[in-house]
Symmetry: C2
Subunit: 107 residues, 2 copies
DNA sequence: ATTTTATATTGCAATATTACGATAATATTA
DNA sequence: TAATATTATCGTAATATTGCAATATAAAAT
C-alpha cells in the first residue's frame, strides 16, 4: 500500500532505517560533506554548490535536521548549520553495531 | 518531479546513497539480521518471521540482492540466501569512511 | 504424472519522495 | 522606511516505494 509497516519492527530497526533514509539521497550526502568542510559554518551558498533549487535544498536540510544531525542557528540571515557531533557519533555507532553484529560465516 | 538528480553528484556519493536506501526500511534491516543469525542459511521461513506477505518479502530480498549483499542459490526450492561477506565489508568500509571523514569541529 | 512446497512475477492501489515556481517570512542594509 | 538578501512554506507535478492478491514458475515428493 505504500505505507511502511513500522509497528512490526523493533525500535532499533526502525531508528536505523530512518537514519539510513536520511542518507539515502546523494544531495543529502553532499550537503553533509559540504557543511563539514566549512570552517565558519555559514552555509548560505549551499544552493550554488549543490546545484538544486533553494526550496529543494531547504527540504533536504529539513530531513537532516529532523533526525537531529544539525545544530546551530536556524533563523534569519546568516544562519549557521553545523553537524551535531553527539548525534553524529550516535548514528555512527548504530551503523557500526549493525555492520559488525551481522554474522557472515555461512555458505 | 520525484526523480533524483543523480548526475549532479559523484559516484561515491551516489553509491553510498544507494546502499543507504537499501537499509532505509526496517523490514530489510530485519531480513539481514535474520539471515545472519541462521546457521544453515536456509531462509524459507522469512515470511513467517518478518510478518509481511511472501511477494513483499520477495521484493525486499530483491532490493538487497541488487546491491550484491546476498549470495547463494537463488532458484527452485530450498534456496539459500547468505550475506556476501566481501560486499558487506565493502559497504561497512564506505559508511565508516563517510562517518569518520566528516569534520565536526565547528560551532 | 500429479500434487505439494517455495519463490518469483505481474498488476494494481495507496502513500512517500523529489523537485521547483510562487510566495511568505525574517533580518540586514541603504 | 524601503530595498535587498536569505531561508521557509505552500501548492503542485512527476516519479518512487510499499504492500498484497493473483498468478506463474520450479523443484521435490508422492
Amino acid at each position: 500500500m505504500g505505507v511502511s509497516k513500522t509497528h512490526m519492527f523493533s525500535l532499533t530497526q526502525n531508528e536505523l532505517a530512518q537514519a539510513a533514509k536520511v542518507l539515502a539521497h546523494p544531495a543529502r550526502i553532499a550537503i553533509l560533506e559540504y557543511i563539514s568542510r566549512q570552517e565558519n559554518c555559514i552555509c548560505n551558498d549551499l544552493v550554488d554548490v549543490i546545484g538544486l533549487s533553494q526550496p529543494t535544498i531547504s527540504q533536504h536540510l529539513n530531513e537532516i535536521k529532523k533526525i537531529g544531525l544539525l545544530k546551530g542557528t536556524f533563523e534569519g540571515k546568516n544562519l549557521c548549520y553545523c553537524i551535531n557531533q553527539e548525534r553524529w557519533e550516535e548514528l555512527q555507532h548504530s551503523f557500526h553495531v549493525f555492520f559488525t553484529n551481522i554474522n557472515q560465516n555461512c555458505c
